[in-house]
């Protein structure tokens, strides 16, 4: 294991553990401000949308909305539909992998 990957793992461990542990430790005694916790509820949806967009709409480093060039576009629409229907991570991933495999064979 390189020291770079070790540092990465330790850093990731810290920013994963603390958000899960600190509220358990403190919130049984104290409440966070309501407006702060309301704002926090918008962070997950924003993070996921930003991550999806920064990947799906780009092909080989440039912005692309052409489904025959950027083969991630059509599978993403299918996955979006499956996710809305099933709310299942497993089904979304399976459908996505199958869709992009088929498309990469066709293009």
């Amino acid at each position: 294991m390189t020291s770079r990957s070790f540092i990465l793992i330790i850093g990731m461990a810290a920013v994963t553990f603390l958000p899960r542990f600190l509220p358990l430790l403190f919130l049984s005694k104290k409440e966070i401000s309501p407006s702060f916790s309301r704002w926090m509820t918008y962070i997950p949806v924003s993070v996921f949308a930003a991550l999806v967009a920064s990947d799906v709409f780009f092909w080989e480093g440039s912005f692309s909305l052409q489904p025959d060039e950027n083969i991630k576009l059509l599978p993403s629409i299918i996955v979006l539909f499956i996710a809305l229907k099933t709310k299942s991570l497993l089904w979304s991933m399976l459908t996505g992998i199958i869709a992009i495999t088929l498309l990469s064979l066709m293009v």
Binding site: R4, G11, R20, L27, P44, V47, A49, V52, A53, I97
Partner: protein
């Protein structure tokens, strides 16, 4: 803790364990391709135990992202756990710090989901919860390491495996759609993310998009409540 408690926890965790096996294999393959050894994949799963974050780390390493920018993005990705830990904290009162640390460490999205709904029932105890969490945790660690072994033995199209992460994020985004405001927030975040990525050509674009979109979402919520009050007058 008797055998019945362990069986009860195991039974509750089974559906999660099944999906963790598949997700873990995919995650291990992606991480191995990103240059992590099987041992470091196993260590990462034991110390980090956050599937989405681990997938993200793999794909960001491939893109050549710096260690601090990966850690920052993982931090934002994990902020949602503050809400989960906060809302489940009332069920783990009067426990030792060590127990809380163990409970927090093994609190994944799925573990939270199953425990939160089970705590609404009378017969679900904190011990059952930690048994379930521990089973899920073990399955995750083993299956990601196994994914690393598979990745080392076979040539797998990682462009396709990386798409698994996108599919996962699309689904996790959709699971957040509890009201119209969250859907609007998602659309805003998508537009901002593309805009800032084109403008800055750096991963920090995601952090800016996340912060701005979440603030706009909250602003819309506050304002719609105000107008709601006014229309009631």
């Amino acid at each position: 803790m008797g055998n019945t408690a362990i069986l009860k926890g195991l039974k509750a965790g089974l559906p999660i364990m099944a999906s963790y096996t598949a997700l873990g294999l995919a995650c291990g393959i992606v991480l191995f391709d990103a240059g992590f050894s099987v041992m470091s994949i196993f260590l990462m799963s034991l110390l980090v135990y956050a599937g989405a974050a681990q997938f993200l780390a793999g794909s960001m390493v491939v893109l050549g992202a710096s260690v601090p920018s990966i850690i920052l993005m993982v931090f934002f990705l994990n902020l949602r756990h503050i809400l989960m830990a906060a809302s489940i904290s009332k069920h783990v009162k009067n426990k030792s710090v060590g127990f809380l640390a163990l409970f927090g460490h093994t609190l994944s999205d799925e573990s939270f989901g199953i425990n939160y709904s089970n705590f609404q029932k009378d017969n679900w105890t904190v011990n059952d919860a930690i048994v379930t969490n521990f089973f899920n945790y073990s399955v995750w660690a083993v299956s990601t390491a196994l994914g690393g072994v598979i990745g080392s033995q076979f040539i797998i199209n990682t462009q396709i495996m990386n798409y698994a992460l996108i599919a996962m994020f699309i689904c996790m985004m959709v699971m957040q759609f509890v009201s119209k405001t969250y859907i609007i927030t998602a659309v805003i975040s998508i537009v901002l993310s593309v805009f800032f990525t084109l403008l800055l050509k750096h991963n920090i674009a995601l952090v800016i998009a996340t912060l701005l979109a979440s603030m706009i979402g909250y602003y819309i919520e506050v304002n719609s409540k105000r107008t709601g009050v006014r229309s009631n007058d």
